[in-house]
């Protein structure tokens, strides 16, 4: 078998230092995605005139097109007509693409979860004199998050794997490091197996955290 174990093992110290970039991209995209998704789902839930339709169109557009095409349009396309976007780094653009792409899915998941919270609790809140905003923040969203958690976990995993596209716009993440090493020594199998394993371990970690969270939150839903 033409598998160079030593080369494979030696690749890890080369690739792993760039894991920080992958993690930074993933976590930043996750935080931004959650914020944007909450905003969109609440706007769509209350059918806020104008904004709700705008986000509806956005969701259709970003769900229907490939992430890589969105990334290229944001990085290579739009800066030619919007000069302000020229100053955006590859890192920023990748985070933006991942955020916009994942939010299109996550906001729909959250909206469904918001609508699954039983109306009786809303009536209870209103009857106590709570406003719609207080009810949303203190009662509906915390419960919606628990309902949506398995799905949110999936989408976070999607973000982690999506960061691998960063190398297409010149980011030196784990994928890019592996690809360069593979091309230099023509060791493709070893190189891609190395990054695959790193992604696998990363995602298993996320699954573990998700499991703990779900267990902890089970007591009230």
């Amino acid at each position: 078998m033409n598998f160079d174990v030593v080369w494979f093992v030696n690749l890890f110290p080369v690739v792993l230092p760039t894991l920080e970039l992958t993690l930074n991209m993933s976590l930043l995209s996750l935080v931004l995605t959650v914020l944007l998704s909450v905003f969109i789902s609440v706007v769509r839930h209350f059918r806020v005139g104008g904004l709700s339709q705008f986000f509806g169109a956005y969701i259709t557009l970003f769900r229907a097109t490939p992430l890589v095409a969105q990334l290229f349009i944001l990085y290579f396309g739009l800066p030619s007509i919007i000069p302000a976007m020229k100053s955006m780094s590859a890192f920023q653009t990748t985070v933006l693409a991942l955020t916009l792409n994942t939010s299109a899915f996550m906001s729909e998941t959250l909206r469904a979860a918001i609508e699954s919270v039983d109306k009786g609790q809303l009536e209870a809140c209103y009857s106590m004199g709570m406003t719609r905003y207080q009810t949303m923040v203190r009662v509906v969203l915390p419960q919606a998050f628990v309902v949506a958690l398995p799905s949110l976990g999936n989408q976070f995993i999607g973000i982690i794997k999506g960061t691998a596209l960063g190398f297409t716009v010149g980011l030196a993440d784990i994928m890019a490091k592996a690809k360069i090493a593979a091309a230099l020594d023509l060791r493709f199998f070893e190189a891609y197996l190395c990054v695959t394993l790193i992604y696998l371990v990363l995602v298993m970690g996320v699954e573990k955290v998700q499991g703990i969270l779900e267990k902890r939150l089970q007591k009230f839903c």
Binding site: G120, E123, A124, C125, Y126, S127, G129, Q143, C221
Partner: protein
């Protein structure tokens, strides 16, 4: 004090309340009885605008709303005048028993957490559930949840409490514990209470006045004695008789 004038509620073509007029005095306990679908719960829910009447006026503790020209602010003000106990308890599932009771005090009345906690503890004691203070709703029985619901309504601290069939979702053996808590409230507090119920014996014991609501109209009204013993109205007599033969405690 509660006044309803020419209250009309309509869902599509279906008129659920037909020009209902009613006055309830301060401290009065009114039980609303009648067949299902007669408009009892709808009437109660109009009083805090959970159901929006299409016509009529409601005055609750000095706040008057005209169904034809009502603003969001007015609805908010009206809701501060009443507390409600629900058929399905409607406890907030992401909060423990004590947090549920503290919620109206902390969020609406802006009481400090410490103060609210002290009040909540005394209310938990009152409904006999101090040992459940940190339990989530799903860890409690229906009867316990409803007792927390009642404690929460007391925490809202209004002169008026609305009870929407507080025992209808409970297993028969749990009905007693909830009714006895309500009876205790009636005895200890001078609150105005409107209670929609199918428990005839209970209505007879606690109410100052009984309303019989059918097809959106109050067809009989009187003291428990007038309604249950003197039998002022043939239809009411038949209804009470049916409830009795169906096994409802009379």
């Amino acid at each position: 004090m509660i006044t309803a004038e020419k209250l009309k509620v309509q869902f599509g073509e279906n008129v659920v309340l037909k020009n209902l007029d009613l006055h309830i005095a301060n401290g009065e306990v009114v039980a609303v009885i009648g067949p299902s679908g007669g408009g009892k719960s709808t009437f109660l829910r109009c009083l805090n605008f959970l159901v929006r009447p299409v016509e009529g006026k409601i005055t609750v503790d000095g706040v008057t709303l005209d169904a034809k020209s009502v603003s969001k602010g007015e609805i908010d003000r009206l809701r501060l005048k009443t507390a409600m106990v629900f058929q399905n308890y409607n406890l907030l599932k992401n909060m423990t028993a004590i947090q549920n009771i503290m919620e109206p005090m902390v969020t609406v009345q802006k009481m400090s957490k410490k103060e609210a906690e002290a009040v909540a503890i005394s209310l938990l004691e009152k409904v006999g559930l101090l040992h459940k203070r940190d339990a989530y709703p799903k860890e409690m029985s229906g009867g316990q949840q409803q007792r927390i619901g009642i404690a929460r309504a007391l925490a809202v601290n209004t002169n008026i409490i609305l009870f929407d069939e507080p025992t209808s979702s409970l297993d028969p053996e749990l009905v007693g514990e909830v009714l006895s808590v309500i009876k205790q409230l009636v005895a200890e507090h001078n609150k105005t209470m409107v209670i929609v119920t199918h428990e005839m014996k209970f209505a007879r014991e606690v109410a100052d006045r009984i309303l019989f609501l059918e097809d959106g109209v109050i067809t009989a009204m009187g003291t428990p004695q007038e309604i249950f013993e003197n039998g002022v109205n043939e239809r009411v007599k038949r209804f009470i008789h049916t409830m009795h033969s169906n096994g409802t405690t009379l």
